[in-house]
Symmetry: C2
Subunit: 359 residues, 2 copies
């Protein structure tokens, strides 16, 4: 067993979900991640927890989705009952082929997701963590060898999260007392928004592993300006590239994309909230030093910000503030490594990816 | 996808558990059987059933068992809740290494099994089937190439079960109206027992796939004589070979084994019922033409009988008859292919593996 896998399991059990004796645990993971599950089961046994492993097989799921009548999807009672009784969910992503469900019609996926909304909410009400095992498919997506990708993932995952929390707390303090945030990058991005009265969250790998961002919610009506997302994003199983959004009074008033624009248009038409921002996130994990086309990592990168269209997180909404509502939450990344700055109430807090306190 | 896998899935869904719309299904299978699960998910989707896949990883299980305190084992609420709400269990055996849990102390395994007795009973109260996927470990155990083992398994599994049921019904009729059964083989086995008032079951692949046996329960006190089991059996993770049992008034009064006799002794000491027979089974599946050291197949072989020490099945107990009770149920096989006969009320019904109606 690779000692980095044992370390990964230890971070999950001791830091992210803090397993206690008697915890009923669901591990959801594809089999390519078996070594990590074996390492987890060792620690769960030691702590007197009760694990069960749900096989996350994208091939089996695809087979089911393709054969089903989407109108018959439901929240099955045996899965919901287990979700209700479980205390902890450990969700491990790992693919040998990231396109395994790529030919499932988007509306079938949507119907399946909607039918299982209650189960997802049961899970969200538990202690849960989402993490990554470095399998070949995600390595290929990242344009890396599996060996290099393993190093990348385990460096990002097994770090000193208390130190990271403290570093991020500086940005939390800045954002919590801030009113106006302005994000500028090259000639293409210049956008301002208010975060007045909102609450900033410090993500230090409790629910995402790796963690490494601080995030808050913009005041819905306050967003003004233009933003260009130079990294592709996945929506409805397809890659959307070169997205440009123009905001006025918080709403997208113009949009375009260099590839699959019609997918972007469809996303924006989901509901009124899909045209407004629900999140402003600032990536602060310096061990994530390259894009891997995997949002779990990309949004944590040290010289990025991300904005999400759609639903705002409950935790970010201050008393008396409006929470943007939507069925979607779509993260999009702005590269801030060059010719870029984040300005908070007129003061530069990040320039070309370097934070004020790092200069 | 190998068309034999699709046929295997069809037999499970259409014949063994007869999937209906809305059925909540648990598939329990190790990853090496993924193709069969993919084929099942296709058919389950078509029929509007709701599957979930429990990963049967013997490596993860071993890791958990080795790290746990056996006194803390429980029936976890999230697993029990799912078992309660499930309508159907499809349990697929498949190992790349049949010894994967071989170094778990027997008492730990026993404690784990006992703690989960309620969950097992929930499963037994549903529609369920146990079947085999031909993975390399079981092929090795069978002393066959994986290719040859695949042919062996799929020939045994995908047969005309209605025809098999009708053939077996002949033996059911003989046993149902029988009083004394006598089993003779070579110089080593000559045992008699009464099945008077007991009910014979016809196993045509509803709960075991392959099926292919008829079985009943001996009247507990009626067993007399000596039996030698020339095929090894697994008990407490160890192989016991050359078992010889002598019965008087239904009870084992003398026993020996050529290998691991102390394991046999321990099994017999489990409880009083462990010294009595709970089952007489007659193998009738002609497509199983060799021993593979896998009870799911061996006990169905056309020229074998098996006797089980321990608990008798509820279905076999006629009104007013005594049911042998025990925590164990240990099947042991007698090869009836040579110099052997089954005699029912003085009439030979099988000689050297050939049934009366086959002569």
């Amino acid at each position: 067993m690779d000692p980095r896998i044992e370390k990964h399991a230890k971070v999950i059990v001791e830091h992210s979900v803090e397993i206690k004796e008697g915890d009923n645990v669901v591990v959801s993971a594809p089999f390519v991640a078996e070594d990590l599950v074996v390492a987890l089961y060792d620690l769960l046994g030691e702590r007197g927890a009760n694990p069960t492993w749900w096989a996350g097989s994208s091939q089996a799921k695809r087979s089911f989705l393709m054969a089903s009548d989407p109108e018959e999807f439901s929240a099955p009672a045996h899965i919901e009952a287990a979700a209700k009784e479980a205390d902890v969910f450990i969700n491990i992503r790992a693919a040998e082929n990231t396109n395994e469900t790529g030919d499932v019609p988007p509306e079938v996926n949507t119907a399946y997701r909607q039918a299982r909304q209650d189960i997802r909410e049961e899970i969200m009400d538990s202690r849960w963590v989402l993490t990554q095992y470095p399998a070949s498919g995600h390595a290929q997506k990242a344009e890396m060898s599996t060996d290099a990708y393993e190093k990348f993932v385990w460096d990002a995952v097994t770090k000193d999260w208390e130190e990271q929390r403290q570093m991020q707390e500086k940005m939390v303090e800045i954002l919590d007392s801030a009113d106006e945030i302005r994000i500028q990058s090259g000639d293409t991005t210049d956008i301002t928004m208010s975060v007045d009265g909102m609450i900033t969250s410090n993500d230090y790998a409790k629910r995402n592993l790796p963690g490494g961002e601080v995030f808050t919610a913009p005041v819905p009506d306050s967003v003004e300006g233009v933003v260009y997302f130079d990294k592709p994003l996945m929506a409805q199983g397809r890659e959307v590239e070169g997205v440009r959004l123009e905001f006025s009074e918080g709403e997208v008033v113009d949009h375009s994309a260099e590839k699959n624009e019609e997918v972007l248009t469809k996303v924006l038409e989901t509901d009124p909230g899909a045209r407004r921002l629900g999140e402003l996130g600032i990536g602060m994990n310096r061990d994530i030093d390259q894009f891997t086309y995997n949002m779990l990592f990309d949004e944590k990168m040290g010289d990025t910000v991300h904005l999400a269209l759609g639903r705002a997180y409950d935790v970010n909404i201050g008393e008396g503030q409006e929470q943007n509502q939507s069925a979607i939450h779509m993260d999009m990344i702005v590269d801030m490594s060059e010719d870029s700055k984040i300005v908070v109430d007129g003061e530069v807090v990040q320039r070309n990816g370097t934070f004020r306190w790092e200069e």
